[in-house]
Amino acid sequence: MTQSLETAAHPERLRRVAIDPVSRVEGHGKVTLLLDAQGNVRQARLHIVEFRGFEKFIEGRPYWEVPVMVQRLCGICPVSHHLAASKALDRVVGAMPVTPSADKIRRLMHYGQVMQSNALHFFHLSSPDLLFGFDSEVNRRNIVGVAAAHPDIAKKGVLLRKYGQEVIRATAGKRVHGTGSVPGGMNKHVSAADRELLLRDARQMTDWAQDAVDIARTLHAQNPALYDHFGAFPSNMLSLVRADGALDLYDGVIRARDAGGAILFDGASDQGYLDLIEEEVKPWSYMKFPFLKSLGREHGWYRVGPLARLQNCDFIPSPRAEAARREFLDWGQGRPIHASLAYHWARMIEVLHCMEVITGLLDDPDILSGELMATGPRRRSGIGVIEAPRGTLIHHYEVGDNDLVTMCNLIVSTTHNNQAMNEAVRSVAREYIDGHELTEGLLNHIEVAIRAYDPCLSCATHALGKMPLELELLDADGRLIDRARKSGEGVFARGLHALEGGA
């Protein structure tokens, strides 16, 4: 697990290239490359400014407001924060466990969330790169371009995401920023009408999810040289698993494996995450770098998310997704799969699993009736861990006697994958940028690597050829010697004079 290219020996002698997207929604991501006189990459870093100030917003607020407030953390995965906060605060109100109805409705909500978010990630954000090529025409790299060339794929993607959004609406009350889950349980059942509506399309959606798995698998089979090597590097992997080792996205114990697939620890309570994980601060990034305490800073970083989850668990407890997982594992020929683009294949297997789980839960009468709230002895703190679409999500709160939150600590999926995304950027920079003339297509290779992990950075969320990027090349004395810019409309221009006066 090399961390080479993180810090150059003599950065003052190198040219600096900054890929600096403009933030609009999710935060601000920036890639900087340091090049030597021959154009070889000597240092590559992904800097992320997460909205960490959010924890301070939470402190001082009444605990019952928190599951609604934290949804503003993320525009793509608000439900994950809604549920992680609820799980943490269940402990504060003594609801251990919540009632069967509350547990099942929350699970339904969560699997709908993972499904819609994974569909967005693959179809809307990543499929244009995968279907057309990383350096294909910029204006084509979006869902409209996919719809024009592959209308069947685009339609299935849009309808799959819509279905997930409808599951969220039926359980949370609204497609965005619902209020269904509360500390101690749920505040509403699923209506019989919504259940019928969702059941009507469940079989079709499951079949389309299977088609999506087939698309991802076919992409790998058609170009194994690319898919097996692009952004590939060994790493540890971490996720929740059910007590029996099954994949579970809503609840479980923490398990970690090393890069060779051997278990590092297993069955660890999520309440003890601070005993397992430590966060390192590096001076060049606003986001922390988590690592496994047992392995230390240099060797303890890890991946989270679909690629980790599917290889960390022992099995998926639904038949079609488990069959797809076995086929996925066979691709690795007995070795763990560490290729970044394999995230997409794993992501689609999760969509299939989500549809199987959703279908089963819709048939469960407990979602229509039954006790919704549980109570018990009050506690001063609670930790909630959930597998969000991009990976493990940790919410930790302490609450005073006056019901106000006194401490909040959040470790989001993006943070867990910080080092892994940096490694992916370095791998791609080394492979594709090194010694080459910079073009928009080459820059998109770096975006593709980041996007495989996470579309929740501004640099990935607003990408798809629409992300404003600017590169400045400086000589060893810091003088600007070249500049390239891709506008928000996808127009690529290069040269000092051509860009003068540009916005």
Binding site: R24, V25, G75, I76, L120, H124, L125, N139, N142, I143, V144, G145, A147, A148, P151, A154, K155, V158, L159, R161, K162, Q165, R175, V176, H177, P455, T461, H462, L464, G465, K466, G488, E489, G490
Partner: protein, 154 residues
């Protein structure tokens, strides 16, 4: 049963004048509760999935706050365009129509954009007095537009 007329407004109710779209839909929904031929929808942003809401409609009114239009409001008969506005969270109405065309291999139903002039979009702010006056003016136009849709298809 799909209702033949759709009124879809979007905007963040917590960001000052960005609330104009949903507020317009609220008012029209309340006033026209008896119109069984109209469906009213509101959302935070116009998104790719709204392409599904256009299908099977006779006509569509899209409502959004705008910094670029002249006060108090402007209307526009929309045409499909691949304008590069698509992101994970939003796209332009023109791009939505283009997506509809690509998915269905036919033009979207006639869509009219009602752009209501907004001035300030600060997080946590309420809509300003000027914006609310623009909304009142826009509502007069919207009522006439919706009345005409009923007459034309009586």
């Amino acid at each position: 049963m799909i209702r033949p007329v759709l009124v879809l407004g979007w905007g963040n109710r917590s960001r000052g004048d960005d609330a104009l779209g949903p507020l317009c839909v609220d008012r029209l929904r309340d006033e026209m509760a008896g119109r069984a031929d109209i469906e009213f929808l509101d959302d935070y942003q116009l998104m790719v999935e709204h392409v599904l809401d256009l299908h099977g409609r006779r006509c569509v009114l899209l409502v959004d706050a705008s910094l670029g239009c002249a006060p108090p409001f402007e209307t526009l008969a929309l045409r499909a365009a691949a304008d590069g506005s698509i992101s994970s969270h939003s796209l332009s109405p023109q791009a939505l129509l283009q997506l509809y065309f690509e998915l269905h291999d036919e033009d979207a139903p006639p869509c009219t954009l009602l752009a209501i002039r907004g001035e300030q979009f600060e997080l946590g702010a309420a809509p300003g007095a000027a914006a609310l006056a623009h909304l009142d003016a826009a509502l007069v136009w919207a009522r006439r537009w919706l009345a005409r849709t009923a007459v034309e298809h009586a």
